[in-house]
Every structure is written in structure tokens, then in C-alpha cells.
Symmetry: C2
Subunit: 413 residues, 2 copies
């Protein structure tokens, strides 16, 4: 079952909005056995949109589109699909009733333009939208079954789950794909690639690849098999061969994001966390609190940009700041201890560094970041020289280093 | 000058990494006059990659690819480009010397596999990489000039700026594109669409479109003209017609992100900021400190998830918490006043709310968020009922509401 994902909207092409939907859709499609070959992002211009949809529907068995279903005139997915089906749009009473109910529940007047959202391409079936006004639809075009869902991520996710995935799972041409992610921090991408070179040959089954993101390297294993259990067994076997080669570089496994793993680990141990952030500026807290249920783990955090904040809120001795400077192991250790005390947390982490572009010195160039972890057993501080590949890179790499420390805690810290 | 952008890598197709490069590349290409028609994301499988590149090079005048230039065997952009050029890869001495220098500067041994990165397709020219090991290349394929740059965002950005954009700006077929973004908070997308319906017709010049993201609506004006000044004048004229229709809904203009505008406004006024975050959990601080130079504006912040943190770090009276609960205007006002005092900031903002999925009550359903802004003139608190479209939506919408308040401060708060 070959699949393609198409994201529709001028705002995606012209820099106003990042397409996060295609990645999400592809991940879910692969879980039910589709093999995703391509994403395309195209604007609202009807000619370009028609070409993209016609091509995708000729190449793939399943095409999922996101976007272009809104009530405004620049939303044209319905019209273009109707054109490819060779007929005019058809008014769907049930969809219109769903839209009326949504507006009634939200105590709003229904704008006339929402009527456009109740139209379907000929031969299509509506996909009801439980969380928004825009219904989606499914329709056969060429070789493919096309599913059109809205571009608003929260609506797209619900509709994918409720309508698209069950329809695909029921198809006879499912070939489940399973992934394993091995998270690595330490070597360069090339050094890692050499170490596992024999795994990265074209056509290997399962496929093994390396991804770099903000200094974090991810070794991905992707296996396809007739059923899910067989694909998982193939992944497990390859992971077992890779582990001894990765050694100390390997610090986490699993298809979930690192903040989720940290939350899960601390929640399971009944331990709480606090942060004292300087150069990461709230990123640690923001990423952890993205996880639902983070409130059971995170007591709180301080973003201490100014030295006065380090003294007043975290109780850092001004003499330490004077003697060692804000980016130093003694200061970051005092920040972590202060945060642990102030928040009454079991474990506290502190960061202080020079994210750039300005602020570097010969002694402490841009990319110098000091870390500390404080717990009941004591405090450990260390310094990393992160490659000065931009402010975002330094901050991201520092955040990954904290997740690694926390996933290794208390043994690996 | 029609352009397409191609992002290459299994990790992008298979959910390990989000393609943020294509959006960035497209934005920069349009600034020098390219009209971007399509993005494609494709994996490392040579057959699929060859098909995508051949098609793009047949449709567009300029194709920019990101990714697939690394030293590992799953990086195949060079090989596939060589195949499309009809010959084997050629070793480029100058590129190899650049790689040797990079490793010497970083005091690392050169892995043999990096030699792959010094190979060029026949007829191609190397694009030196000043910030990483992977050089890029440019080569003519079919109708198009193809530029291949690395997928690591920091390297991609520098190489685009130094090599790709100057080459395009020198072409005679430049047609500069200019954008204006009008930021709107308040109406539904449909209600906004109806108000400006007459602007959103296909073929209008400049084009006008609406984008929804986390509750923020952006009205985009996109104009193309023979020169930049003419395109800007067209955008300005359309913006002037739209402003009276948008009225109070409109709260910011400009093609930059809102945190940048907030930083700029506060820096210009010589005012400082502090945050006390509960439901936004560090997002306000993290987004503001993404902006280089935020340290001149942000004194610091507290992420006060636990009630004890609200009392101990922000001095919130326990009786207030007892009487009104953490999600209430009196508590959020006390949080803002506490943060202003503790950080010695001119203005402090506090948030407290129920981001979900759990924690809602009939009185205070998921999506209820209380805000306060404290300054020398006093404190103003208010409550919003944000649509319960998921944790990320509620948090994002709350952050947008703070940027709106700060951009309106002191008049509009």
C-alpha cells in the first residue's frame, strides 16, 4: 500500500506557516502498514493543485491531503477534487447539519460562507469533523483512494484517528512498518556512520539510517513485514546487533520524544524535578510541559537571565558570580542547589552558557555551556563546548544534554 | 523564475525529523524573485529520489535540494545527480582540502568516509561550506539549475546566503515577490474571511489569503512585480484597504515573528520584562529568548507549576490561592506583581490556566486561562476561554494573547 501525503495552502509555500502535518500523517499511516513515498506541499492556485493531486493519485494507492477545506474562497481542495472526478460539487445535507450543530454548541451565528464546507465531490463520502467546522471527504481518483482532512492540526489528528486509519487498516494490502530509534550523543555523524557502515547499505532489510538534529544523532531502524509482530522482531534483532557498536554513545531508545521519556521515568520513580535556566531560557521547562501530565513531575523553574535573578531567586552567592562569572561550574552548581531548595524538588538541573551570536570571549567562546544536576546525594557540574552553529543549535544541543543526564540519573549523571 | 524545493532523507519521510528547511529556503528564494511552486520531501531510496529530481528539474528553472550530502552511505544526492547528468562522480581536490581544513580546525581525525563528500557530478561546481564538512554543488539538469546544500539547518542557511541567493539575484528572470502579514486575534477564520471576502478571489493581484495557527489568524498579502519597490507599493496599497475592515482585530503588522516585535518594542523603549508562567510552562520565556538580544529585555521568569512555588518564589498570599484557586484573576495578578518585584522589571506578565487534557471543571473548563500584566501604573487581569482543541493549541493561543497584550502595552493592555 503505497501512500503519498499532500499539504495544501499558499501559507505553507510562502513562508507564513510550517507544514507539521505531513510528518504526523506519515507516521500514523506507516503504523497501519502504508509505505509513504513522498510528501508534497502545494499552494491554493487551482492549476498547480490539480496537477499535484492528479500525479499523486496516479502513483499511489492512498493519498491523504491536509488543508484547503476552510470556509474562505482561497480554500479549493473540494473544487479541485470535484474537477478531477469530472463533475460539479454536490451539497451534503448531513455535513451541513453537523456544521450548524457545531456553531450552535459554540453559541455563534453561522456565517453563510460555511455552506461551502458542506459540498462534496461527486461520488465522495463525507468524513465528519467532531472538533471543528470543516468536514473532510474520501473519494476515488485514478489509482488512489484520496482522503481530504483539514489543515488545523488538532482537527486533522482527530479525523485521521477516527476515519482515515480505520479505513486503511481494513485494506488487504497493508504491510505494517515498525521503527526503532536509538539516540546517540557524542560522536560526529561521520564517525557514527563509519562505526555502523555495514548496516547502511541500500536494500538492507531492515533499513538503517542516521539523522542529525541539533547535535542529537538518531539511528533509525525501519522494518516492513507481513504482520506487525514479524516487523518488530526484525527491528529487535537489528537493534541487538547495533547496541554493542554504539556503546556509551547510546543513551536512550524508543519512538517517543525525549521529554516524554524523562517524564515517564521520573513519574514512575515518584521523583520531582526543577530547572534553573540561563542560556536555555525556558526551553527545558517548555519542552517538558508540552507533555501532558508533566505537572506530576515538574515543580517549577526559574529563568535567571540577569545576575540579580540568580542571586535573589536562586540564592547564588554574589561572590561566586564575581569570582567565576555567570558561565562557570561553581555558579551553575549553586543555581541547581538553589532551585532544588526553592522548589522542594528531588532533582534540579541548571544551565548557564553563551548561546551567541554575541557574548563569547577567548576563554569562553560562543557554545560554552555549564550544566549542573543537584540531588540528595550531592551536585555534579560539567562544561561542554558546543559547536557554535547558531543560537538555536547551541540551545537545542544543551537541552539534549540535559535529557541525556536525566535519563542516566542517578547512575549516568 | 519558477522554483521548487526538495528535501531529501528517510528521516523526514519516516517521522524522525520535521522538514523545517523547505519553508526557510522558499522564503529566501522569494525575496530574490523566485516564485516557488512546490516543495517535495523524498527519502534516500535512489529510484524515488531520481524520479523526484528529474521531474522537478523538468518543471522548474531553479531547484534547491537540502539533505543527502552527509558522509554516510545513506546520503545519495551526489550519486543521483551524477546519474541524471549521465556520468560518474568526479573527485574535487578543492572540496577535499576544505574538508581537511575543517577537521584540522576542530582538532579531529578525518574519517575516510568524508572523502565521499568531495565528489561532484560531472559538469557541476562545488559550493564551499564555511560552517561544516559537507560542501554543496550546483549543476544544470534539464531545464533547471540545481543547487544542492546540506540538510543541517545552520549549514543550509549559511550556504544559501553565500552561494545560492547571489547566483539567483544575478539572473535576468528575477520577479521580486513581497509579502505583508497582518496579525489578527478575535474572530473565527470564517468570520474574518467574510469580512475580507472581496479580496480573496483567484487571480487577484496582490493575492490575499488567511492562515490559522494556534488561534492566531494571519492575513497575507503577496505581490509580484518587475522590481521590489513596485511590489512593495502594491502590498502597501492593499494593506491600506484592509486595515479599516480589520479594525480592532488587527494587532500587529510585519513579516517577523511576534517575539521579535515584542523584543524590539521593549528594547527601543528601554523597558524590561519578566514572566510568571503556570499553564504556558516556560513557553513565553523560551520563545522570547529565541530572539538574539533578548537578554537586554528579559530580566527572567518563573515557571510556577506547584502552588508552593507561587507562594515561595512569587509571594502569592496562600489565602488568595485558598479562596480563588490557582486559575483565577486575583492569583494571576499577584503572580505578575510578584514577578515584577522579584525581577525588578518594568512590566511583568503572568498566566495560569487549564491546558488539558485533564484538570477541567464545569466552572473552569479546559481552555480557561487567566492573564495579568503588571507595570508601574497598576495591574490588569483578564480571563479567556480558549477553545479546547488540545494542550498545544491552548498553550499557543495563550502565548499569542500575551504577545498581543505586550504589543498593545501600555495603551492596548
Amino acid at each position: 500500500m503505497i501512500a503519498e501525503v499532500v499539504a495544501i495552502g499558499d501559507e505553507l509555500l510562502h513562508g507564513a506557516l510550517l507544514d507539521t502535518n505531513s510528518k504526523y500523517v506519515a507516521g500514523r499511516l506507516e503504523q497501519v502498514g502504508a509505505v509513504v513515498h513522498r510528501f508534497t506541499v502545494v499552494g491554493d492556485e487551482p492549476g498547480a493543485l490539480e496537477a499535484v493531486l492528479a500525479e499523486a493519485c496516479a502513483r499511489a494507492d492512498v493519498v491523504v491531503t491536509t488543508g484547503g477545506l476552510g470556509p474562505t474562497l482561497d480554500d479549493r481542495t473540494r473544487d479541485v477534487a470535484a474537477q478531477l472526478c469530472g463533475g460539479p460539487l454536490v451539497f451534503d445535507e448531513a455535513s451541513w447539519n453537523g456544521i450548524l450543530e457545531w456553531f450552535a454548541r459554540h453559541l455563534r451565528k453561522v456565517p453563510d460562507s460555511n455552506r461551502r464546507q458542506a459540498m462534496l465531490p461527486p461520488g465522495g463520502a463525507a468524513l465528519p469533523n467532531a472538533v471543528g467546522t470543516a468536514p473532510g471527504f474520501r473519494v476515488r481518483i485514478g489509482r488512489a483512494e484520496l482522503f481530504a482532512v483539514p489543515g488545523v492540526p488538532s482537527e486533522m489528528r482527530v479525523m485521521l484517528q477516527e476515519h482515515v486509519l480505520p479505513a486503511l487498516a481494513a485494506r488487504p494490502d497493508c504491510t505494517p512498518t515498525v521503527q526503532r530509534w536509538l539516540r546517540v550523543l557524542g560522536p560526529s555523524e561521520a564517525a557514527l556512520g563509519e562505526r555502523i557502515e555495514s548496516f547502511m547499505v541500500p536494500g538492507r532489510d531492515p533499513a538503517v539510517g542516521v539523522t542529525a538534529s541539533g547535535g542529537l544523532l538518531t539511528v533509525r531502524i525501519v522494518a516492513t513485514a507481513a504482520d506487525r509482530a514479524a516487523a518488530e522482531a526484525k527491528c529487535d534483532a537489528t537493534a541487538a546487533e547495533l547496541r554493542p557498536l554504539l556503546g556509551d554513545w547510546l543513551f536512550a531508545e524508543g519512538e517517543r520524544e525525549l521529554p516524554e521519556l524523562v517524564c515517564e521515568r521520573f513519574a514512575a520513580a515518584g521523583r520531582t524535578l526543577a530547572f534553573a535556566e540561563s542560556c536555555t531560557g525556558g526551553l527545558l521547562a517548555a519542552r517538558l510541559t508540552d507533555v501532558a501530565g508533566a505537572s506530576a513531575v515538574l515543580r517549577g523553574g526559574v529563568v535567571a537571565y540577569a545576575n540579580e535573578a540568580k542571586q535573589d531567586l536562586l540564592g547564588v552567592d554574589p561572590a561566586l558570580l564575581e569570582r567565576h562569572g555567570a558561565v562557570s561550574e561553581p555558579v551553575v552548581a549553586a543555581m541547581a542547589e538553589g532551585a532544588r531548595r526553592r522548589f522542594g524538588a528531588d532533582v534540579a538541573v541548571a544551565t548557564s552558557g553563551i548561546a551567541g551570536p554575541a557574548g563569547g570571549t577567548p576563554d569562553k567562546p560562543v557554545g560554552t555551556v555549564c550544566f549542573a544536576v543537584a540531588d540528595a546525594a550531592g551536585t555534579r557540574a560539567w562544561t561542554s563546548r558546543i559547536a557554535a552553529l547558531g543560537r538555536a543549535f547551541v540551545r537545542d544541543r544543551a537541552v539534549f544534554e540535559v535529557w541525556r543526564a536525566l535519563l542516566g540519573w542517578p547512575d549516568g549523571v
